[in-house]
Symmetry: C2
Subunit: 342 residues, 2 copies
Amino acid sequence: MELQNDLFLRAARGEQTERPPVWLMRQAGRILPQYRALRANLSGFKELVETPELACEVTIQPVDELGVDAAIIFSDILVIPEAMGLTYEMIKGKGPFFPKTIKTAQDVERMITGENAASELQYVYDAVSLTKRELKGRVPLIGFSGAPWTIFSYMIEGQGSKTFSQAKKMLYQHPEVSHLLLQKITTATIAYLKGKIRAGVDLVQIFDSWAGILTRKQYETFALPYITQICDAIDEVPKTVFAKGAYFVMDKVAQLNCDVIGLDWNMDVAQNQKIIGAGKTLQGNLDPCQLYGNPKDIEEETIAMMKRFGGRHICNLGHGVYPDTPLDNVRVFVDTVKAFKY
Amino acid sequence: MELQNDLFLRAARGEQTERPPVWLMRQAGRILPQYRALRANLSGFKELVETPELACEVTIQPVDELGVDAAIIFSDILVIPEAMGLTYEMIKGKGPFFPKTIKTAQDVERMITGENAASELQYVYDAVSLTKRELKGRVPLIGFSGAPWTIFSYMIEGQGSKTFSQAKKMLYQHPEVSHLLLQKITTATIAYLKGKIRAGVDLVQIFDSWAGILTRKQYETFALPYITQICDAIDEVPKTVFAKGAYFVMDKVAQLNCDVIGLDWNMDVAQNQKIIGAGKTLQGNLDPCQLYGNPKDIEEETIAMMKRFGGRHICNLGHGVYPDTPLDNVRVFVDTVKAFKY
């Protein structure tokens, strides 16, 4: 089906657009009353992730409610460790928790990878197909995965962490075992993203949420080679890489075989345009907390941001939208972008 | 009493030294078996902070055990909110927790400040005097405080956070109330640091642990003016500012009226030397997780780091030493520095 609004894809491919497209990371979520109402009747987060009809419904909600220029399939980066053999739970008010974690080389050997892992995730492909059908070509659909280092860190830590010292300890103490696990995650992720692409997503985004915790040397050794593999393996659709906090290694991120690079709210636009060059589109990067402010400030700061980028830009926040953000303020953000002209 | 080892202070003042001095943030803590043994007999963390004889004992332990070039008084940055009227608890495995937090302008008005707050902290001054006496001039003693933004964020959030979205929301929604609270924290902190200086500390360090969560504009508006006040108010001893994660605003941090600037492990040494200039000493910045590695790597990376800095350098990690770091590896780090010659 032909897309009625392909602004997002044109911007991703570097075509000149009349204004930047706009969407928000975590737009399908708690900011929407429709989402909260649907969640109230469910046993939990995973029921939503694993039921294609429900995932489809919440994926489309922000398109209906906010008029964003792209949808992102409702899912979680942690479906990959689960498909590989480590189930997770989502604990209310705390976040993800893995009852079992990776401790030894034997644990890594037991992990499933490639198509064997990816085939566990049929419910995601079904959600993608259904959502593509239900979107009726209104806007493109984004598929996503975690970057191998971020997935690795959850598989070692078993939960979020301030320091990720256990995951980093594994890198320092057992580099070979670490590479083995990172490779298995990568191979599973490639098969998984290809499954999503076959099911219909129009672009894939790789989230390296914990990039900023590594040293430059570690990022070059344990993170970039695996993102490189993923980017090189996928040529069916455009690719976005968002390495949050990786300011210290953006010169190398810039060299990835991808189309779009995400910036967080601390990253300077002009400096990164210089580092990354004109060959890639940039995505970001308003401070998510700016949307707690008053509408006038949101409008001014959003316009100032668009002018800073100037062009080859996809409007977004510098992080996922926070669950307690007032919906009307999100609307101001989206509407300001849609009223803008270069 | 004259100092037998004043290497740390000479380096802080920018004098040429034969090698960099070395100490570790959180060196008085769980890495030491002596500390763990002492803690096992106590009711909790706060008993240790509030009992001068005990705080003195654990402050000196790393000087005895590791031979570091400076001691840092055992305490916590959260004694300031407590002295201002918000008590905290230290919850095992979770960190600090404030039963009451700041929500309104009225809450801020109720907060005590200046000498009235500082006078609540006699136990800290007593710990400093006692420690100075017990150190017998072996090494200098560092006093410290949190930076106003970091203290503010705890007073709003009531605990640690990944996003500090509540504290940032306060900045966006109630800038005047925020400035009022930041000023009260600043005035209390100045009085407190002056009390520590009168009691004998040889240098003060200001920890802005959550600097990296703010935008550049917010850091310039809500953080730097208050650190500036503190630095300008203190001229009795040298001053160190450690704004963790504030890479995006180091050009402004560089202009503070202080002697030493701390770098975290992500901050590039050459780039920051260029930004900060030769007028200040730099402190840092080995990845704390490097000390999980093998002794040979620790030695190599420590030497490489010292060579990167070249001079005008105080050796430290880029963050506090993590509690589960093997003591023998900490020893390798310290001994490598002590065996080094420029």
